[in-house]
């Protein structure tokens, strides 16, 4: 009998690269449902969407926190969970949910947001889902009070578990969340640096297929420059990894109108294409109001894919110093310790990395971002960041509660004002607890 070489399952990164090579931007939802039947329907609808897609299983927030008693109680009470509780669903249920869903062109990524992801990673590997995301900094500082040193150790163990799973055939994939810190008002150079540092941490602990995130901020030109810096620095600092950039549609206060939300989504798709990113994680028009339905997710994927078709790769981005700032931040951290985990802990302890408006006890809290007159996100205070020779924060600028509020709402109000008048489309909500009802998304403000 002739031995047939078994082609190993392509990794998440290989699939994205192959789909990009066909000329498509890969678009992906943030979808997660507690009910296995709805989760399955969501994945199949994502796969069938008129767009080049990969799938998502987002876990619920009790699973994120490791509160499995609360998960099981909610499942017993038939209470609503805000995602799929993969750890507490029995393996047969998850296998049935996934049956026939995964293909060589349609991998599924598990999204969770956990500062201690060990049990989640162990479970998703057992379920045959070796693509996930997160990071020791990005899932610790904004969403927990866990000491950073502890999160670094948990993420090291999680990376090692993922890396070991390579022996069983599938190449694991890990995406950094560091390019999305706080959702808004973190200057792009720090987002780029944190995304790279988390990617390098993954590499140091055995991950070879990595994606680097960057969340759309307030100014398209500035975002293009930031993504160009991320790509250039990934070639310098992660030369041997398989990498792609993943753009997140704006994560701050979202437009309330249908027209505003659709245009912001389209803008993020154009950013992805212009900057040569491989993948886009979309938001829906329901985002400002509630958890979106399957139909709203599919509509967002198709709208993003349509917008991407009309955009062209830009040859060169503007240069205002994001590359230099990000490089200085990364190099400073790398110089602190050969072990990147320890270097990250030291960097935050000394304020050499310092995330604006982040209240975690291990964040120094001496930096601030602000929006300049052109809508670019700039440094107002740099604290001890090692970029003093690269930026000139404005003198005498005072942040007030009113100016913080208007900065937080800058994107929302801008897109609502310019595009909110577009005719709202009635949306049938099929799975609210109160049953189907018609809601005019555009009229809600």
């Amino acid at each position: 009998m002739t031995e047939i070489a078994v082609r190993p399952t392509p990794s998440f990164g290989e699939v994205v690269a192959a789909l990009n090579a066909e000329g498509a931007l890969v678009v992906q939802p943030r979808m997660g449902f507690a009910d296995p039947a709805v989760m399955r329907r969501g994945l199949l609808a994502t796969r069938a969407a008129r767009a080049t897609t990969v799938g998502t299983i987002t876990l619920d927030s009790y699973t994120r926190l490791g509160d499995h008693q609360a998960v099981r109680q909610a499942m017993l009470d038939d209470a609503e969970l805000n995602g799929y509780p993969i750890v507490d669903r029995d393996p047969a249920t998850t296998a049935e949910m996934l049956g026939g869903v995964l293909t060589a062109r349609f991998p599924v990524q598990v999204r969770h947001g956990s500062a201690d992801p060990r049990q989640i990673i162990r479970t998703l590997l057992e379920r045959g889902l070796p693509a996930t995301e997160g990071g020791p900094v990005s899932y610790c500082l904004p969403y927990s009070r866990m000491p950073l040193e502890l999160a670094v150790d948990y993420w090291r163990q999680a990376c090692e578990m993922l890396a070991e799973s390579r022996d069983s055939g599938a190449e694991p994939h890990l995406e950094t969340f560091g390019g999305c810190m706080m959702g808004q008002l973190c200057p792009p150079a720090l987002l780029v640096a944190l995304s790279l540092l988390e990617g390098m941490f993954f590499w140091q602990h055995g991950i070879r297929c990595i994606s680097l995130s960057y969340a759309q901020q307030t100014h398209p030109g500035q975002d293009e420059e930031a993504v160009a810096a991320l790509q250039q620095l990934s070639r310098r600092f992660l030369p041997f990894a398989r990498t792609h950039v993943v753009i997140y549609t704006y994560m701050g206060v979202f437009p309330r109108t249908f027209g505003g939300a659709m245009e912001l989504l389209a803008e993020s798709a154009r950013l992805a294409v212009r900057s040569g990113a491989g993948r886009l994680i979309v938001k829906t028009t329901a985002e400002a109001h509630r958890i979106p339905t399957v139909g709203e997710n599919v509509a967002a994927l198709e709208h993003a894919a349509d917008a991407a078709l009309g955009a062209l790769r830009r040859a060169a981005a503007e240069r205002t110093g994001i590359l230099e700032q990000a490089a200085a931040l990364v190099e400073c951290v790398l110089g602190l310790d050969d072990d990147l985990g320890r270097a990250l802990v030291t960097a935050f302890a000394r304020g050499l990395l310092d995330v604006p408006f982040c209240l975690h006890p291990d964040n120094a809290g001496r930096t601030r971002g602000f929006l300049d007159a052109a809508g670019r996100l700039q440094w107002q205070r740099i604290g001890a960041l090692p970029i003093a020779d690269l930026v000139e924060p404005p003198a005498g600028e005072r942040l007030t509660s009113a100016s913080l509020l208007s900065a937080l709402r800058f994107v929302q109000s801008g897109f609502d004002d310019r595009f909110g008048a577009r005719v709202p489309r009635p949306v049938l909500e099929a799975h609210t607890a109160r049953g189907p009802r018609l809601r005019e998304l555009g009229s809600m403000s």
Binding site: P142, Y143, S144, R145, M182, V253, F357, C358, L359, H360, P361, L399, T400, S401, A402, L404, L405, L408, R409
Partner: protein
Amino acid sequence: MTLETVGAGAADCRREVLLTGLSSDAHTWNLAYLELLLEELGCRVTNLGACVPDAEIIEACRTRRPDLVVISSLNGHGRQDGLRLISALRADPALAELPVVIGGKLDVAGGGPHTAAGLLAAGFDAVFEDGAGLTRFSSFVGALAPRPAAPLAVA
């Protein structure tokens, strides 16, 4: 994100305010905003941040002796988490008279008089429901007795 602007103009009072989120709530922009607002109202603010366990809040009350504790909650668990915290806090005789207020989206049903009454009965000094604006909150802070000046305080 549901924040409201208020007009300036409150008098400088230099009260010590302890600002915090509750154990199950990861929202932080509300806390960043309130820190600035309280500073504009003349307060010195200690911001404990998000996801703070009850024991840590109570310990900070004991050691810092604030003039006011402000609790902000947006995740819909504010009522149950707040009731649990206030009963533990009021159980300490040293904290029985400490002014403690709570505000935000306090339950998943959108609050209402029942929620506020329950929190007041349990020991909160005031409840500020989301959507009602911050004028009443600012007035409450402004009406607190000024902190006696320390002998060697630097203005």
